[in-house]
Symmetry: C2
Subunit: 325 residues, 2 copies
């Protein structure tokens, strides 16, 4: 086995994902555990400590083989200080010195990064972004996360909040967003926004194979909508295409602002099939200036749900490379 190894942890409100990788971002083991989100920072840090050590054993390695640990967190953070300022989906995570506390627990150097930035770095070093000097990632799920790589560096910005592409506005009077603003890309094209638009269409009288479920007050997911769209349901198909048109505007805006070589879309709705990707590409083909769009490749993430953990390990490898640790 090529040593040193790196551990990456991706902390979200629902799950903690972990991976052990080589310095070249090859994954040797990965695991996902449910986050004890209500138990507070101490309990979650203990979970992450256990997961990190278990993964190294699973990889057939020893803890002393680990050079550094990277963590992706769905949070606003101060990168240089390794401080979590606020985590939207984790109760009590305000001003938590995560880097220092985890470094003490683990006995290793720790790097803390925003989760979508970590996922972007993962795809950049080991997935769909390999070889591109300029790349942007959009992760589609409960929220819409973003990460941007320019000149082969993560674009973190002046105060570590760059790449929040889900909270760029695509309409001033659009629906309310969890961030407090209106008209954000996330408020139009996240999984909950997609479900909400579908439910409103059904309530407005549109027919669908899922209409009865909606009227009965049962939960409908984007997976349900995707399945029915594939089975020929017109409203489900239209709903997803509308989501994709909003995403297409977001992608257009990324192209005009950043001009990446690759734009990587990730998340369940993207992994499910071609419907959304094709509409996104069609929007860009129609809307974006050819000089700007011509050299932009739009594709799917290749690392799936483990992108953030692999990217977090990659961030650790970048900051603590084998040669100089």
């Amino acid at each position: 086995m090529t040593r040193p190894l790196y551990v990456g942890l991706d902390l979200g409100g629902t799950n903690i994902k972990g991976a052990v990788t080589t310095a070249e971002a090859q994954s040797l083991a990965d695991e996902t555990v449910p986050t004890l989100a209500q138990a507070g920072p101490e309990a979650i840090m203990s979970q992450m400590d256990d997961l990190a050590r278990r993964l190294v054993t699973q990889a057939g390695a020893e803890w002393r083989d680990v050079a550094a640990v990277g963590m992706g967190v769905a949070a606003w953070l101060d990168y240089d200080a390794g401080l979590i300022l606020q985590a939207a989906n984790l109760a009590g995570w305000v001003d938590i010195p995560l880097r220092e506390q985890m470094s003490q627990r683990l006995g290793k150097p720790v790097v803390v990064e925003n989760d979508a930035n970590a996922a972007a770095w993962g795809e950049y070093v080991a997935g769909a972004g390999r070889g591109a000097h300029f790349m942007a990632l959009l992760t589609l799920g409960t929220g819409i996360g973003g990460g941007i790589i320019v000149h082969d560096r993560l674009l973190r910005g002046h105060s570590d909040t760059a790449g929040e592409l889900g909270h760029t506005m695509i309409r001033d009077d659009g629906p309310e967003c969890v961030c407090g603003n209106r008209g954000c890309l996330e408020a139009f094209a996240s999984a909950p926004a997609t479900v909400q638009r579908f439910i409103e269409a059904v309530r407005g009288g549109a027919d669908s194979a899922l209409a009865e479920k909606v009227r009965a007050g049962e939960a409908v997911t984007t997976e349900d909508i995707y399945q029915q769209a594939m089975a020929g349901d017109t409203l489900c198909r239209q709903t997803l295409q509308e989501t994709a048109r909003f995403l297409g505007i977001g992608v257009h805006n990324i192209i005009m602002a950043v001009n990446p070589q690759r734009i990587v879309l990730a998340g369940g709705m993207i992994a499910a099939g071609d419907l959304i990707m094709e509409t996104v590409k069609a929007v860009v083909a129609e809307r974006t200036l050819p000089y700007a769009a011509r050299y932009t490749e739009i594709g799917r993430g290749q690392l799936g749900e483990i992108a953030g953990a692999i990217g977090a390990a990659g961030c650790a490898a970048r900051e603590y490379p084998p040669a100089i640790r």
Copy 2:
């Protein structure tokens, strides 16, 4: 005089602006001449050649003191090749090897840059962006240009089209833009878009001190609208505030995507007074996540109309610095 010197030329559809600067971007002389836009590339290159040499004389220097010449052009270009792919406001400027041809005329190394990128670089090295590692510029005029600096470098992107912030979309079904798309920031907030909205409001029955001028079919400019707004005309004031609200959305989107330390607004409508700036800042204060907006300073350009020429000279100084020329 500190030698070597650098010449910067800013080629637009209406004017060519030129400046001679030191390696530290201090301007020693500048001049503006009307572009012979219809006369074709050869005549314009001859104009630029004359202007460059005249400026050096005006600066009390000799041509041999010039280390390199930078050019900002309102065009799509291939930076590495120094090639103008297409210039929207200059007839016949398609696939023009500007760097090579001007270098032969001038007998100096030449650097070619997009005009808004050059203006951003100018403000970064010598104006409102000094000291910031992350900066974005919006130039408001007939169009809306943009330039982004990250990690102290111009963000040119994969194929030299980054920073086209005027063509990011703030509404999918907005007015048509000169670029062929709809709903671009430029289509809402450029000078012509502002005048157009004003005219439509008057035609729709709104009252204004300029209403008679509009009904008589006379030309109305943003200067007219600004003057009347300052004199208390409600419609003129509302029109400019609406422009500023659209700009505020553009600025919000820049903050969320790039998280610059400074956002610099430039152009006649900005220079005229506080009205637009104050509304832009109010939109950001209301709309943008505090963690992202807190460290962003929004201010005016300091170099005025000569920013692009000074920035072009600065690009030349960056590529051909005194020590290694």
